[in-house]
């Protein structure tokens, strides 16, 4: 957002070909081509680079307020015809600042364009207002709308990967519609560590409803100076999103259209044994399992289950404005099939942003998104694919599903799955702005976030048979129907008064306000069994059709289970911020927010969140004038306290349990009973984070080279954690009470270096960013005794593989350390070992050296938190071509290959079993082959280096020549090809080294996630 100049032209919009949309486009073009007018003026001129004074070819020239324009020829000359009343030309060129020139009364002009440098008068969006970039004291990362299109995905945050230092985005699953885990500056709590999102002023927990094409800019607020204005919600960072508007477009409307279609495929498969190899290993484990290993079938389950799948994204928007206001209307459609059948996501977005200027002082408006969506969720086939024995055939000769022992036939799982989510989300606000006495701006905004979601899951009765015709374990005796309807409704009313004033050498930018919010959610669910017909028309929990076949009776009461639950909480906040700048050199920001939340008991429901920050624009000092080369230099520091109120606040209430539990009378009869349940903790409060930040911004050579570096240190205390309490409180064995009793520290350095330049006709920018994370638990409960450890990362077999303890990172991996293989009996006898260990098995280290090997010898064997997260981005423009490359990676984290550990039955193996121990000296790392048991106890054998480097995106675009565009009356017309996740360099053997989790104590454990796909797509975008 730039208040000093009118809206810069969007330099890039993306999309793609589709015959239908092309046809539509053609129609619109022809209709607009008819407009002609009378009085005309012809202007000619030349455009130069302000620095080199060389002429610039290919510069776009637009007649302001129209869709008409031209571009400069190879000599930098242009010629354009103005209609009556048209006076302003807008010059834009990639890599240069956009310039508007008033040509009233002129016929010939010379124009000089300046290379883009982050101008210091540029305005930066901050919470509840805008501040001049020069006056910013906080650490704020910014992503422009162009960068948001680099990844084809439902969720915009996927595009932030590797784009902002200090922000780690990790996919939790590759399933269509799956949200990513977003962590800003490490992991600050054991609980919900996600940031909040503020879309046009409405505070939200996720932005899956947003179409990236509707976004103007995103700012990531990282330090306390930036986030303290969000008080008890700012501790995990804040993502500000501004959506597009029609402001700055005067006259004829601007139409933008973009379309993109692509295909997705699995990026890489896991190297598993084939049928023959499996048979050989099976014979080794139990001789005679397969008589002829050359005759066994070979089924590549991965090939059967993972398919290529289409993805498409289209958008059409119309925006415009006048003195009376402006509008932005868009329709978007996103559709993604998963690479596993029966998973998909489909979303329509309708965006309406309007403002109406009632008079010179008062403006009203709205920002509104309506997003209906539909999601299909596939069963967890990944796990079954990994486990299924390769010598079993997917189908019998008669075409029915073949049995897959122990795991079930994944193809049958998919076939019989009908799991769907659909709904509509509506997010938006209406607002009124009033300017009072020129310096004050009063704004009142009423925002709403409402959604209705319906989940439906139907599984028909089915049986997969064994070869002998008996029923296998994979069957469902009675069909099941499950329904859940949930409704969420939040409103947020915010009133702020801003004051911006400059006088003499002083500048003040202040805001104060009052905010109220209510959040309500409710769901109702029902389930039934044995639906009368399998068809979709009967997927209802309808009493007359829920039949108990065995007894021939209607059995609704026995077969339906209803649950109804609701939640709601309210919040009132007072907020204020003053930014004071003296002589453009010294800046101080004071921020304060008081939040009152119904989540907490009366005595401690108010929380107070202050922040102070200073910045010094050293480049404005006199002594800097003599230092050439440094074009910008700023140091800043901030301190503040912010909170995290996304906690399980119901734990504050002491509940009452009710059940049929007392058995009395003769004969023994169960009676209803009720009593106090688990004790709540009325003293529960939000978690509070104290954050310190020191940063420096520096620009060299007219800001061709810019650098930003920050040191951050944030300590979250009062983290909610469940603790055991003394028995005499009467909560019963194993019951815990929630306390604000843990503390975690995150500290590190983040940097962002950017170089941009032009070489002849090529403009380019290179950007390297990264951050280090040092995460350390400072306190857990009492720090000693039975609650000094937070156990997490439970696998399907009940084993837990993470421990969070003081002095270690959150969710550190825990298990046995291995030290080779027992090569012979003498070696086995000589070392302490578990009773199950034999020759050829792993040798676990007696860590505590007590001569006995037991659970006490398990130790810390890795951390899921990377030491360093980085991104590398290259943008290049040459003539009509543009290339954009985004690399992203992390270093120093470990992955626990959990899917390889849980083996209660004979499953397929990863290829490494081939290097197994088969006799003394054959291997000292891969133990003898076994189906499960001892060698699969959680140990460092399953710890893998999680470092990776991924080519996240590569885009090659071609802008149609100006001559063609002007003939077609197009302002912008670009074709492109794009690839996401083209390759990943990693030592990890799974589908992806990116193993995220919403739970911070179960992070980095690969339990068989839905693979993240490679996407290759083509697109076209245009505007006129």
């Amino acid at each position: 957002m730039n208040l000093d100049t009118t809206q810069p032209m969007p330099s890039q919009q993306r999309s793609l070909t589709s015959t239908f949309f092309f046809g539509l486009l053609g129609l619109i073009l022809f209709s607009s081509a008819n407009s002609t007018a009378y009085a005309q003026t012809e202007i000619t001129g030349t455009v130069y680079d302000a620095e080199t004074l060389e002429t610039l070819p290919g510069v776009n020239i637009l007649i302001k307020g129209t869709a008409r324009g031209t571009s400069t020829d190879p000599e930098g000359n242009f010629r354009v015809t103005l209609q009556e009343g048209e006076t302003i030309l807008v010059f834009s060129f990639l890599g240069f600042e956009t310039l508007e020139v008033d040509v009233t009364g002129r016929t010939e002009i010379e124009v000089q364009l300046r290379t883009v440098i982050g101008t210091l008068d540029e305005m930066v969006v901050v919470g509840y207002g805008v501040v001049k970039k020069r006056d910013v004291t906080g650490a704020i990362g910014r992503v422009s709308s162009e960068e948001l299109d680099n990844v084809t995905s439902l969720n915009v945050e996927q595009s932030l990967q590797g784009k902002v230092s200090g922000v780690q985005i990790t996919s939790v699953s590759g399933a269509p519609g799956a949200a990513a885990a977003v962590r800003i500056r490490g992991v600050g709590t054991f609980n919900d560590s996600s940031p909040i999102y503020v879309v046009d002023g409405v505070i939200l927990n996720d932005i899956s409803f947003l179409n990236s094409a509707d976004i103007e800019s995103m700012e990531i607020l990282k330090d306390a100076s930036a986030t303290a204005i969000y008080g008890s919600r700012g501790a995990n960072g804040v993502v500000l999103v501004q959506t597009k508007s029609g402001s700055g477009i005067v006259g004829e409307p601007r139409v933008q259209f973009s379309t993109e279609t692509g295909i997705q495929q699995i990026e890489r498969t896991i190297d598993l044994l084939n049928g023959r190899e499996y048979a050989i290993i099976a014979n080794e484990i139990r001789s005679g399992s397969y008589n002829n290993v050359d005759a066994v079938p070979n089924t590549d389950w991965q090939d059967l289950v993972f398919d290529t799948a289409p993805i498409q994204n289209h958008q059409l928007s119309v925006s415009g404005g006048s003195e009376r206001g402006d509008y932005y209307v868009s329709v978007g459609y996103f559709q993604q099939e998963g690479i596993i059948e029966k998973s998909s996501y489909e979303r329509l977005t309708i965006k309406l942003n309007n403002t109406y200027k009632l008079n010179k002082k008062i403006k009203i408006g709205n920002n509104l998104t309506i997003a209906p969506y539909k999601q299909q969720i596939a069963p967890n086939a990944t796990f079954a694919v990994y486990r299924a024995q390769p010598l079993l055939e997917p189908f019998y000769d008669d075409g029915s599903f073949g049995v897959v022992y122990n795991v079930g036939n994944p193809l049958a799982d998919i076939e019989y799955s009908n799991n769907e989510n659909s709904g509509t989300r509506l997010v938006g606000n209406v607002f009124a702005d009033a300017i009072i006495r020129n310096d004050f701006l009063l704004r009142s905004s009423f925002g709403v976030d409402a959604s209705l979601n319906r989940a439906r899951n139907f599984t028909p009765a089915f049986t997969v048979f064994n070869p002998d015709g008996t029923a296998s374990q994979q069957n469902n005796d009675f069909s099941d129907i499950f329904k859940r309807e949930s409704f969420n409704y939040n409103w947020l009313w915010e009133n702020t008064l801003s004051y911006i004033k400059e006088f003499d050498k002083h500048s003040i930018n202040a805001v104060g306000g009052l905010s109220m919010q209510q959040t309500r959610s409710e769901f109702l669910q029902l389930s039934g069994q044995n639906v009368i017909r399998d068809g979709e028309d009967f997927w209802y929990v309808n009493s007359s059709y829920i039949i108990d076949e065995a007894n021939g009776i209607n059995n609704l009461q026995a077969n339906t289970n209803g649950v109804n639950d609701a939640n709601y909480f309210n919040m009132i906040s007072f907020l204020g911020r003053v930014v004071y700048t003296y002589n453009q050199k010294y800046v101080a920001t004071l921020t304060y927010r008081a939040d009152g939340s119904s989540k907490f008991a009366k005595e401690n429901r108010w929380g107070y969140f202050p922040s102070v920050a200073f910045a010094w624009n050293i480049d404005q000092e006199k002594f800097m004038e003599s230092i050439s080369g440094i074009s910008n230099l700023k140091v800043r520091t901030s301190w503040g306290i912010i909170g995290n109120e996304k906690i399980e606040y119901l734990r504050r209430f002491s509940g009452v349990n009710s059940d049929i539990l007392a058995v009395l009378g003769f004969p023994d009869t169960p009676y209803n009973a009720a009593t106090y349940g688990r004790s709540g903790n009325p003293d529960l409060q939000w978690e509070s984070t104290t954050q310190m930040d020191v940063g420096m911004e520096i620009g060299f050579m007219e800001n061709n080279l810019t650098m930003e570096i920050d040191y951050y240190n944030r300590t979250t205390s009062d983290i909610l954690i469940d603790l055991t309490t003394p028995g005499h409180l009467g909560n019963g064995q194993g019951q815990r009470i929630t306390f604000n009793a843990a503390e975690v520290q995150n500290k590190g350095i983040e940097f962002n270096v950017e170089w941009q330049d032009r070489v002849g006709e090529m403009a380019y920018s290179v950007n390297l960013l990264g951050n280090t994370i040092h995460n350390e638990v400072q306190t857990i409960g009492g720090n000693s005794g039975i609650d000094s450890v937070l156990v997490g990362g439970f696998l399907a077999n009940g084993q837990s593989v993470t421990r969070s303890v003081v002095g270690r990172p959150i969710g550190a991996f825990f298990g046995y350390k291995t030290d080779g293989i027992f090569q012979n009996q003498a070696e086995l006898d000589a070392y302490p070992h578990l009773s199950q260990a034999g020759v050829g098995d792993l040798r676990f280290v007696d860590v505590n050296g007590d001569g006995i090997l037991n659970g006490e010898d398990r130790t810390f064997i890795g951390s899921p938190i990377p030491d360093f997260v980085y991104g590398f981005n290259l943008d290049l423009y040459y003539k009509n071509f543009d290339v954009s490359i985004g690399l992203q990676g992390q270093i120093g984290n470990e992955i626990f290959n959990g899917k390889n550990v849980v083996r209660p039955d004979p499953y397929n193996f990863e290829q490494h079993v081939w290097d197994r121990w088969t006799g003394e000296g054959t291997s000292n790392s891969e133990p003898r082959a076994t189906y499960g048991g001892y060698n699969f106890l959680p140990s460092d054998r399953f710890i893998h280096d999680g470092s990776f480097l991924r080519l996240r995106s590569i885009i090659i675009g071609y802008q149609l020549p100006t001559s063609v565009k002007s003939r077609l009356k197009l302002q912008d017309a670009r074709f492109y090809v794009k690839a996401n996740n083209l390759f990943t360099i990693t030592k990890y053997t799974g589908y992806t080294p990116e193993i995220g989790s919403q739970s911070v104590i179960a992070n980095g454990i690969d339990t068989g996630i839905y693979p993240i796909a490679r996407v290759i797509s083509f697109g076209f975008n245009t505007s006129f």
Binding site: I572, S597, F653, V656, N672, H728
Partner: protein, 487 residues
């Protein structure tokens, strides 16, 4: 300008910050609003009883009091429940499995009783019923504290639903005083057993409270009071012995004439009691886990021909309800020591047998906490101590007579009147009559016979009379709980 500020401010005040921030949880009852009605009072009282069916209520799930005695061994498969094995030879530690579960669950019951005792008196309802609910809760609270004081000695006393987090141990004397007060209050109010309607049978009775109080006095060697309350039960004419000894613990005698207080349980997992499943026959038929194995010593304790031996021990090959007991494959049928002496025989507790051939039905056993035979023997013991051996023998012989089952050739009447000898005879009679029912270890400790009888098994005088306070509780108390002597 001022106008705008005041508008802003007035809005805030108008909407009432505090009122806006008072939000109750939805669809969920909180403790501030329960119990407040007559039906709440009944629900709350009922839930105190359900504590008795919590698996951990039974000494943390495993009958380790029997393992500690000379009657029962850990049993089950040698590889199962290894954490319980140390109780068999007194090598159990402060961190031993089960201690914390038992401690926590007894206090869980106390809290549930406190919910009633603290809140029900404030409810507007039928006064008699209200008083009865409170008295039922006091009876149960007394029984929970009695387990605590017998097991651990003086423990923190909690008589409110909101005790402080740090609480020191009271003396055992103080705990006993609370138990006596509760039981005396209960005796005043509770109806006799026959006054309850069929659907309420199983609730605490006057007789139950008197019997428990007699036992409480016996544990303090207050034989006069023990005599009074035991005799009060006997003279109430509310109870008698089952004619068939099997019925005393079996399904036929559930809530029957001999039952003074028992735990109702239905033959399924939700409304059943896992107490019996834990001890049920392991293997074939598959009724349970097979813990609490009768010892060779217990077998030898029965007089020749005493039918109670067969009614106490299930042997392999027995046929019960047409089901042949084959037992567990991996469990050795007979275990011998190095010298070839038989030290253990695969066998099971007959007293928890419940008809059926699966695990679910085994949950239907109603554990008898106090039965009339126990009261008769308590009376006999107290009378003997109070120098009335003649009267003592009457009650002792009533028990032997029933055990005899009409066979005049066995279990002759006792005629001994020497106080010391008769005491031993009564304790011996308690052992065989009440075997495997959880009384033996306490009887040995309270009569001072434990060092002599259990010494060979590892019992150390001055230490093993009490269990250690669970180490987890010591840790959590951050110094406010002291460990028992010698632990």
């Amino acid at each position: 300008m001022k106008r705008f500020f005041s508008v802003l401010f007035l809005t805030a005040i108008f909407l009432g910050c505090e009122g806006f921030l008072d939000v109750n949880p939805q669809g969920e009852l909180t403790q501030e609003s329960f119990p407040v009605s007559a039906s709440d009072a009944l629900l709350a009282t009922n839930w105190v009883y359900s504590t008795l069916r919590v698996w951990n209520y039974h000494t943390g799930g495993f009958p380790f009091l029997e393992f500690l005695s000379d009657d029962g061994a850990k049993g089950s498969n040698p590889n199962d429940g290894v954490d319980q094995a140390p109780y068999d030879n007194f090598t159990h530690a402060t961190t031993q499995d089960g201690l914390d579960r038992w401690w926590n669950t007894l206090y869980l019951g106390i809290r549930r009783a406190n919910v009633v005792i603290e809140n029900v008196p404030l409810i507007q309802m039928d006064e008699d019923l209200r008083a009865r609910y409170v008295a039922e809760a006091k009876f149960l609270r007394a029984s929970f504290y009695f387990d605590l004081v017998r097991g651990f000695g003086g423990v923190p006393i909690v008589t409110t639903t909101n005790p402080p987090i740090k609480l020191a141990r009271a003396t055992s004397q103080e705990v006993y005083e609370l138990i006596e007060t509760d039981l005396l209050d209960a005796i005043d109010v509770l109806p006799v057993k026959s006054a309850y309607a069929t659907e309420d049978i199983g609730r605490a009775t006057k007789g139950g409270a008197q019997a428990l109080l007699a036992k409480v006095y016996l544990f303090q060697n207050d034989f006069e009071n023990a005599e009074d309350y035991a005799l009060a039960v006997i003279t109430s004419n509310e109870y008698d012995l089952e004619s068939n000894f099997y019925h005393a613990n079996g399904p036929e005698g559930e809530q029957g004439v001999e039952s003074v207080f028992e735990i109702g349980a239905a033959a399924d997992r939700t409304a059943g009691n896992q107490y019996a499943n834990t001890q049920g026959v392991r293997g074939t038929p598959n009724r349970g886990w097979g813990f609490n194995r009768p010892t060779i010593d217990l077998r030898n304790a029965f007089e020749d021909g005493d039918p109670r031996e067969q009614a106490t021990i299930i042997e392999l090959g027995d046929v019960i309800d047409d089901i042949t007991i084959l037992g567990d494959g991996p469990t050795p049928d007979v275990t011998m020591d190095e010298e070839g002496n038989v030290i253990e025989i695969e066998s099971y507790n007959r007293k928890v047998w419940y008809p059926g051939n699966n695990t679910n039905t085994q949950f239907g056993h109603n554990r008898r906490l106090i039965r009339y035979a126990d009261v008769l023997l308590m009376a006999a013991e107290a009378l003997n101590e109070n120098d009335q051996p003649g009267q003592a023998l009457v009650y002792l012989n009533l028990v032997r007579e029933r055990a005899r089952q009409g066979d005049p050739g066995i279990l002759p009447d006792i005629t001994e009147t020497d106080k010391d000898l008769l005491r031993d005879i009564i304790i011996q009679e308690r052992r065989v009559e009440l075997a495997m029912e959880g009384h033996r270890f306490w009887d040995l400790v309270r009569t001072g016979k434990a060092p002599e009888v259990l010494g060979p098994l590892g019992f150390i005088e001055g230490k093993h009379e009490l269990l250690p306070v669970p180490q987890s509780e010591i840790d959590l108390s951050q110094g406010s709980l002291e460990q028992n002597p010698m632990w």
